[in-house]
């Protein structure tokens, strides 16, 4: 076997699979020390939603409030044993509290700074849980003795030599100015008039969600223009991501039928 460079993320992913597979055939019983209330879907991606001017510029972000999403029910757990990590991680005081509460069950906390533009400084960009953390319904549960570290990535101004990852609104301020939630067709027209190539995606509620809580909340399909009766959900880059750069030409405009669950989640 040749020497292979170590890829920590791949190894860590393997450990997470190990833990998930070990839990697959049987249900664990009791001994839940800390229940971390958080949206499972929101934590399934490294970034969380960033809402700017009413529009979600999050990267691959589940749409808040879609069926099965937040608000976050915490059932069957004494309140003092439940932590809302996303909420606590957003401030120095909250992080101190989080560190203390996690330490009480033998779990560390590491806060890392990610270089971002001004609008995302101080915002929690991602939360990584110890490998033996597991989802239980829509809570992420840490059992006493799992050990490890919760890693929170928080947006910070770039240091010398670092390049900030800008949001679309930061890189292209004319974009949010052109967006009108209630005028999807006009939004597409204005963005195109600004010289952008606009790809429109229609997002609809997934009816399967009614019977399968783990089903994908929504379905997406490409359309030429926003259909009548739709509202704007968000604008992303060509890859569906939150980041932008000056000179970027391609935008994705996500729209949804007015009154749908996914549209209602985007006030």
């Amino acid at each position: 076997m040749t020497d292979q460079p170590r890829i920590d993320a791949l190894d860590e992913l393997g450990r997470r699979f190990d833990a998930a597979l070990a839990a697959a055939p049987r249900r664990r019983r009791g001994r839940v020390a800390v229940a971390v209330a958080a949206a499972a879907a929101a934590l399934a991606t490294p970034a969380v939603a960033v809402v700017t001017d009413g529009f979600d510029f999050g990267r691959d972000v589940p749409r808040p409030g879609t069926p099965g999403g937040p608000p976050l029910p915490v059932t069957g757990r004494p309140p003092e044993r439940t932590l809302d990590v996303l909420a606590l991680a957003g401030s120095d005081a909250g992080r101190a509290e989080l560190r203390r509460r996690l330490a009480a069950v033998g779990i560390g906390l590491r806060v890392t700074a990610a270089p971002v533009g001004p609008s995302r400084v101080g915002i929690v960009l991602g939360v990584q849980f110890p490998r033996r953390a597991r989802f239980q319904g829509r809570q992420l549960v840490l059992e006493r003795g799992v050990g490890g570290t919760v890693i929170v990535a928080v947006g910070a101004p770039p240091r010398a030599g670092q390049t900030a990852r800008l949001t679309i609104a930061e890189a292209l301020p004319e974009v949010p100015a052109a967006v009108d939630r209630d005028d999807a067709a006009g939004t597409a027209r204005r963005l195109r008039a600004l010289g952008f190539t606009v790809r429109v995606r229609l997002v609809v509620d997934n009816p399967a969600r009614a019977t399968d809580p783990l089903a994908t909340p929504t379905g997406v399909k490409a359309v030429a223009d926003p259909p009548p009766g739709t509202v704007v959900l968000q604008v992303t880059n060509a890859d569906g991501g939150a980041t932008g750069r000056p000179g970027m030409r391609v935008l994705v405009l996500e729209v949804a039928p007015r009154g749908s669950a996914v549209a209602s989640a985007h006030p």
Partner: protein, 189 residues
């Protein structure tokens, strides 16, 4: 180890971990060369193994090579869906309760190196240079400039059908440079 572990995992799920250890790098390299994005490739690799685990009962191969081909087929499917949807799919991962860990910059650099992206870019550049001018320009307008076909056709002063044909032939000409070589079937870590 792959085929035996895969069969065992049907009744003993933790055995699937050996499949991951044996093939994770191969899948990651494959997807990195398809996406040119190590971060996205890591997410797609995770979803690939989650889908493979979910469908392990349907594996019909006889050898470890069959396992690798089966996994790469799933990886191609996951990648194609992500391209169509404009985002990485994560349904199987969520069902399994696995989150993709963030990759540090050093990790991303190692993945790029492992996948040989620098060499691949050179291969693509050479492949592009070797294309007929008309095909190269059609590929540039459609893939690099991301123009819709009607606009590509207008720029090239041809019909939309002809523009589609030029892009298709140009991409076909590049396929040899883009396809990962057989050497990416790497030893397990």
């Amino acid at each position: 180890v792959g085929v035996a572990a895969l069969r065992t995992s049907v009744r003993d799920p933790p055995a699937f971990a050996a499949v991951y250890r044996a093939h994770a790098r191969t899948v990651l390299v494959h997807l990195t060369r398809r996406t040119f994005d190590p971060e996205a490739a890591l997410e797609l690799t995770a979803e690939t193994f989650a889908q493979a685990f979910a469908s392990r009962r349907r594996f019909r191969g006889d050898s470890d090579d069959d396992v690798a081909r089966w996994l790469l087929g799933i990886a191609n499917h996951v990648h194609a869906r992500s391209v169509r949807r404009g985002r990485a799919e994560s349904r199987a991962l969520r069902r399994l309760g696995v989150q993709v860990p963030p990759a540090e910059p050093e990790d991303l650099a190692r993945i790029v190196e492992l996948a040989g992206l620098a060499g691949l870019r050179a291969d693509v550049a050479a492949g592009l240079a070797a294309l007929p001018d008309a095909h190269r320009e059609a590929v540039r307008l459609r893939v690099v400039e991301e123009l819709p076909y009607p606009e590509v056709a207008a720029r090239l002063a041809v019909t939309e059908q002809a523009a589609r044909a030029r892009v298709s032939r140009g991409l076909r000409g590049l396929r040899a440079a883009l396809e990962p070589p057989a050497a990416t079937q790497e030893p397990s870590p």
